[in-house]
Symmetry: C2
Subunit: 526 residues, 2 copies
Amino acid sequence: MKLTGELLIGQQAIKGSRDPIVAIDPASGERLPTEFQGGSVEDVARACELAGAAFDSYRETASEARAAFLEAIAEEIEAIGEPLIDRAVAESGLPRARIEGERGRTCGQLRLFARVVRDGEWLDVRVDPALPQREPLPRADLRQRHIALGPVAVFGASNFPLAFSVAGGDTASALAAGCPVVVKAHPAHPGTCELVGRAVQAAVARCGLPEGVFSLLHDSGLEVGQALVADPRIKAGGFTGSRKGGLALQQIAQQRPEPIPFYAEMSSTNPVFLLPAALAARGRELGTAFVGSLTLGAGQFCTNPGLVIAVEGPELDAFVEAAATAVEESQPQTMLTPGIHDAYTHGVATLSAHPQVHEVARGVAAEGQPNRCISALFMTRGEALLDDAALQGEIFGAAGLVVACRDAAEVKRVAEALEGQLTATLQMDDADVDAARALLPTLERKAGRIMANGWPTGVEVCDAMVHGGPFPATSDARTTSVGSAAIQRFLRPVCYQNLPDALRPRALEESNPLALSRLVDGQREH
Amino acid sequence: MKLTGELLIGQQAIKGSRDPIVAIDPASGERLPTEFQGGSVEDVARACELAGAAFDSYRETASEARAAFLEAIAEEIEAIGEPLIDRAVAESGLPRARIEGERGRTCGQLRLFARVVRDGEWLDVRVDPALPQREPLPRADLRQRHIALGPVAVFGASNFPLAFSVAGGDTASALAAGCPVVVKAHPAHPGTCELVGRAVQAAVARCGLPEGVFSLLHDSGLEVGQALVADPRIKAGGFTGSRKGGLALQQIAQQRPEPIPFYAEMSSTNPVFLLPAALAARGRELGTAFVGSLTLGAGQFCTNPGLVIAVEGPELDAFVEAAATAVEESQPQTMLTPGIHDAYTHGVATLSAHPQVHEVARGVAAEGQPNRCISALFMTRGEALLDDAALQGEIFGAAGLVVACRDAAEVKRVAEALEGQLTATLQMDDADVDAARALLPTLERKAGRIMANGWPTGVEVCDAMVHGGPFPATSDARTTSVGSAAIQRFLRPVCYQNLPDALRPRALEESNPLALSRLVDGQREH
């Protein structure tokens, strides 16, 4: 499949009229082939018009048809073959095996949502039959199902050019819910976006769906993204990226004449708590393993463990010593974009210059190669973090800060002072259960996922996953952006009262023709 | 129970330090006994501090204990007996039978949520067991449950001094979710608020719960409400009232350093569509029945049918003629407050003066009695409504606007031009099914509840109810404020990864000791 750099608006491919984007191979700093012309606000309006026109039809597709569409997208992505891997590697600087794994995750995610659509639990069917004889007043026949919110604007992330991008979790869950999707392509991987976008476009055609179900727009500035969130036909947004970018778009979403939900996944330092018995038993081992998680993918994960919190003492010293050795041995890794590399370098320099922060170790230097992440490990004291909230700010990349606390009470105070997080991790042994139990209520209030004896990088796509958490980890702690529950972000309930069966949606027909699980008169029926 | 006019902060009753509120009997315009001193921002902070302190303990109460607490509140409210009815009638001007019915609804609502808490479906338990042998990577043990968001600020409505006030739907669903509640008392019925507040306070004590689970604050200005929504310990808000008030509080909720969900139920004109066959067969009957719904409770319902939309012609004329007769015969009714009466009078005068609006009928005049609602019926043309969005603004009270359209296509255009609504109603016969089907997709996008051949007033408290809808009907169309699904507003998911069984919440323990419905490895287990 040859790249053309065009916008994909419904079934059309159109040359944009604004400044072009050119992708950079961050490993070499060189420009990659193909110019991607930016879209205009007219292109946004056209994509939204098509999405709006497709909505009523698409949201009422039968479960089987919608599930088959999601599976067709996965097949079309797989059918691209090596060119997709080549381009995504070139645009992201990520290792080939990682991108191959991410393709598997992306297609697996689409198939998971196909299963979710078929199961039909997302419809949350509730039936309260009429009670004409009830005193003092009869009860009407009342039935509830969930329907799609409307067309959704999706903003992919730089760090997952497949799994959190054009056909990533936001798109898959929105399409599963019955929402048309308009994607704003990420400027760091426009070619990957086009390839995947064309796969989705082909799946739309193959499944005979209205063309407005999917569009993909490039943007060389901010106009397309802003116009997209502001468009009255867009009824929700999904975003993964920086706190600044997420908040700016969320503000547009809130200040529209009709405000809309905007799901922004933004910023998390993913604290790791080293509990005393675990730290005493395997401090060095934990130090080495921590750096493995810290430096994975150049630290460019939303769930990268940027904070380690423990009580000071020789056990923590052993952890830090082992971690320092591992950091010093860590090789430079290509970061996703020059901009991300600059921000990382700046963040590390700022932390290094902080009077209450001590630099423990740096990774191997880059020797002239561009855009390389040099890992970094810092230490501070619990008091310092309690005094200066800036110390808990996210540095996107492989920089970690160890927070040495005077005692368990200070650990708890530091935990209470944390902002909202995607994850919180407990390194614990059996003897730490009481200490863990004391921290747990705080961590539940702070994080969407709490784990024991693992590392937060690696987010399973499954039913029980929560990739979300209190602000600023996300803009809406009531949801997850990974896993089957992500579909719920794009739904709303509608109640039908006394409608004749001929007019009821199939999911609510008296005979339950779709064999859905239903809550009937307060009792669960299957 | 004697009224003291005090603030209820945890288990304390404290005299407020700010300007007093005095309740007015709107039927006579006279002051009712007892002064209710307004609270200060320090009182807000104290209530929120107690709520924050109670949260971790309260949210982990066993289902049975929490359900018993909800039932205890209902019992304590019932135990107040006639003084509650007397005071609510005096403060609201609503008929005694209506207030008695509302007490039944309020207590029934609390008992419904007790059932919901016991059932445990709200926990949405999901278990993905570990797959240690999986290739290329093993899967961790992942379990999800829902937990409470945190302390909730509740702002009751003037028009339901019991069912949407201190122990109304917002409070009942928040308490059911595990959230402590701080209520800002409605200034129109402070005595009713105190009586019910003391009942909740007594139930907290009787059930041995932490005192911060409930507080009640009076406010003679806006400071208490604003400080309450801004308090960092408050994690969500519930509001029923005017669009202006709801939007102002929502803005505070969004602009906090940590934004929070704010559920505001605000404004709806609840369009009624008269379809051709029904209109031809029973236009006069429908006209009379419409006015019955329009004037019920002086039109002071969120679901009052303020708009009627139909194709012009002799059938619609017959409807209007019958409706006009019914309006002309309608007696003046006491409105809830002098302020609501003033706003109604102003709204009716504005509509009456609109060049595209024709006044059809007025109800019987009030003859010197204060705060009486004189029903009013107006007509306009579809084109006029399409030209001037102001014509679809809500007039709170018994004022209706009939919109005569040229044809079915214009009816559809008017439907598309409507703002978000709580309800939409179809008056239809068998021969109208196709016409109804053509409107249905539009109505689904516009409203939370769609009904056939009923009237929107009367909102059943049940599982299938949706009392919600797209903006500006509410600030969040993904939810309902009435019925069992209202609990979902105050929950968020948390995922637990590889936690030892000793540390897991009971709901997630391996042996499923609470016998909860669970989604295990993608399969529903009961």
